[in-house]
Amino acid sequence: MTTNIRHKGRTIKSEDGEEKEYVGFATLPNQVHRKSVKKGFDFTLMVAGESGLGKSTLLNSLFLTDLYKDRKLLNAEERINQTVEITKHTVDIEEKGVKLKLTIVDTPGFGDAVNNTECWKPLTDYIDQQFEQYFRDESGLNRKNIQDNRVHCCLYFIPPFGHGLRPMDVQFMKALQDKVNVVPLISKADCLTPTEMRRMKDRVRDEIERFGIKVYQFPECDSDEDEEFKQQDKELKESTPFAVIGSSTVVEARGQRLRGRLYPWGIVEVENQSHCDFVKLRNMLIRTHMHDLKDITCDVHYENYRAQCIQQMTSKLTQDNRVESPIPILPLSTPDVETEKLIKMKDEELRRMQEMLQKMQQQMHEQEL
């Protein structure tokens, strides 16, 4: 008896009373949800910027923990010739059963020395190392436990004390734009009045465009989303770069206990949207776009790296046949440089001939008229 019931498709009454056949794959999202909760998530975030811009405070505010328990800050004299280090902090945080393994890649010493030429080299080397590690793991024989240490997002802190981007900011972002999602932030935003803030943001946006820096772009929202969502999305896009304030202290304001900064002339509330864009950043980074950042890292930046790597390797292979390929790759499907050139030339010729043909046809046409 029971088997019969199971084999018969259960019917569900829809709104207008019709009975629809129920298959059951509408539960797929739930299954995905369940599996992902079981697996847990990971996210690697890199922060870069000069010291004293509030990076650590902002991270503590974002993830509501204290990531930097005992930190030793260097004196000015020690920083004169400082080199940039890369330090990693990994924390496991959990919220409503969802586990997140968060890795923060910190860059102490960035921009602090007197001579900062190419101070981003340790960062690009680190990012490339992670890509290489993943590349090897992916191409290995045993792929059960691949650790994804690739950097998903880089928050770059721009100081608010100047008139816009500085040469160091431009060069840094250009060096990293093809390797990681760069999200520029205006730090210590409580230094600028609303007018000054608008001017600064416009300036930074202009300069980013002028110098051709490819920062992380929010994906376009689908046209069938509702108006409110679209409006929110538009607002989000218009307020980049985000102006943030961080705080690890709790103050009393308007009868509530909030995270904020206490000044003699008022209290800056971190989570007040009219004071700063912290909430927007948090929403974007954690609540809505975290997965998109990961996707772009995997699909765009990593694939670029992989293609480059393979091309380099195969060009080396064709030069020296004795070198064994260290990783299993498909034989050359991409044509080498010579044939590409030939193809391009032939294409050009074809195009020219087509144009000539068109012109002649036109002439004939005009003559006939």
Binding site: E50, S51, G52, L53, G54, L73, N75, A76, E77, R79, I80, Q82, D112, A113, V114, N115, N116, T117, P159, P160, F161, G162, H163, G164, L165, R166, P167, M168, Q171, K188, D190, C191, T193, P194, R261, L262, Y263, P264, W265, G266, I267, V268, E269, N272, S274, H275
Partner: protein, 429 residues
């Protein structure tokens, strides 16, 4: 320009007397004041700080005017200094104010050379004053003193400590100018952070041996306030030229969504303290320090470099004149030596050239001889040939004449024969 005052030591030969009435020389300071007021005062401030840190705004706020500065870009390849002079007047006191701003400081990737331009500028001002002082006909009275009297160093409000560039720059400048460090854009630091920040900055300065300007505490009238202010260094300032209505007054302030920062409110920032210390109380002392300490140090170093000393090797005091004469002799001797050298060199060169030319002449001569010989040879050959040819011609002519003669003779005989024949024949008839 305040002349260097002679130290008032208790002269042992002068005995103090008491006056039995009012003489009136207590008006001497007033006379001095009148004189200097008529002359007008002169003050030069140097502002060092990153682009956009608020140097121009603070100057505008301090002197309550609009100095019309334009924004600089962050992309200057080198640090430059821009100086502008203004004439200000308050009640009946005229002030010639020169403000020197750094342009592009802290923007370059490699900042190792940044401090050098500032140091060079300060030295140039000292140098021109020194030149004026050493002139034979000098007019120090009318000289526009461009030496920097005060240097405001703007520290970025990071909240942690000084930047490496700040430390390096201040170390290079502390023996050349009065440094007054200020924390710029201080409305981004909360009170507790500010306290820690100030302590950290001062300790870093002390541990690295940087001597910043200390407000003088030897004069009883101002020592109390100066000592108190010395404890508040570095001043945390906020500048603003915009006015906001607070209560029923318009005050200079910055308006934020969370409150209004009033520039002249002492619990908000140290602007009032800076203004008082810099302008109201210690401006004259800053000028004096520049002249007696920094300038004298520069002068001494410069003159020592040139070889002047106060005492010669036997530790006897040497006057400037003696040193000058010695230097002059040395210089003249040097000149003579150089002249000799040049003359020698010239003579040598001439000799060399002569020998060269002689060589060339000889060569030419030999070539000429050679050619002449060749010419002669050819000529003689040609003569021979000619003679030979002439001989041939002669022989040929002779032969020709001989044959002609023969021919003529034979013809004649033929003709004679014929005639004879004819006679004979005719005779027969």
């Amino acid at each position: 320009m305040a002349s260097s005052d002679v130290a008032r030591q208790g002269d042992k030969n002068a005995r103090p007397l008491s006056l039995s009435g009012h003489v009136g020389f207590d008006s001497l300071p007033d006379q001095l004041v009148n004189k200097s007021t008529n002359q007008g005062f002169c003050f030069n401030i140097l502002c060092i700080g990153e682009t956009g840190i608020g140097k121009s705004t603070l100057m505008d706020t301090l002197f309550n005017t609009n100095f019309e500065n334009f924004e600089s870009s962050h992309f200057e390849p080198k640090v430059k200094l821009r100086a502008q002079t203004y004439d200000l007047q308050e009640s009946n006191v005229r002030l010639k104010l020169t403000i020197v701003n750094t342009v592009g400081f802290g923007d370059q990737m490699n900042k190792q050379e940044s401090y050098q331009h500032v140091v060079d500028y300060i030295d140039t001002q000292f140098e021109s004053y020194l030149q004026e002082e050493l002139k034979i006909k000098r007019s120090l009275h009318n000289y526009h003193d461009s030496r920097i009297h005060a240097c405001l160093y703007f520290i970025a409000p990071s909240g942690h400590s000084l930047k490496s560039l700040d430390l390096v720059t201040m170390k290079k400048l502390d023996s050349k100018v009065n440094i007054i460090p200020v924390i710029a854009k201080a409305d981004t630091i909360s009170k507790s952070e500010l306290h820690k920040f100030k302590i950290k900055i001062m300790s870093e300065l002390v541990s690295n041996g940087v001597q910043i300007y200390q407000f003088p505490t030897d004069d009883e009238t101002v020592s109390k306030i100066n000592t108190a202010m010395n404890g508040h260094l570095p001043f945390a300032v906020v500048g603003s030229t915009e006015e906001v209505k607070i209560g029923n007054k318009m005050v200079k302030a910055r308006q934020y969504p969370w409150g209004v920062v009033q520039v002249e409110n002492e619990s908000h920032c140290d602007f009032v303290k800076l203004r008082e210390m810099l302008i109201c109380v210690n401006m004259e002392d800053l000028r004096e320090q520049t002249h007696t300490r920094h300038y004298e140090l520069y002068r001494r170093c410069k003159l020592e470099e040139m070889g002047f000393k106060d005492t010669d090797p036997e530790s006897k005091p040497v006057s400037l004149q003696q040193t000058y004469e010695a230097k002059r002799q040395e210089f003249l001797g040097e000149l003579q030596r150089r002249e000799e050298e040049m003359r020698q060199m010239f003579v040598q060169r001439v000799k060399e050239k002569e020998t060269e030319l002689k060589e060339a002449e000889r060569e030419l001569q030999s070539k000429f001889e050679q050619l002449k010989r060749l010419h002669q040879d050819e000529k003689s050959k040609l003569d021979e040939k000619r003679r030979a040819l002439e001989d041939e011609i002669n022989t040929f002519n002779k032969k020709k004449a001989a044959t002609e003669l023969l021919q003529g003779q034979s013809f004649n005989t033929n003709a004679n024969l014929k005639k004879d024949k004819d006679r004979k024949n005719s005779g027969f008839m």
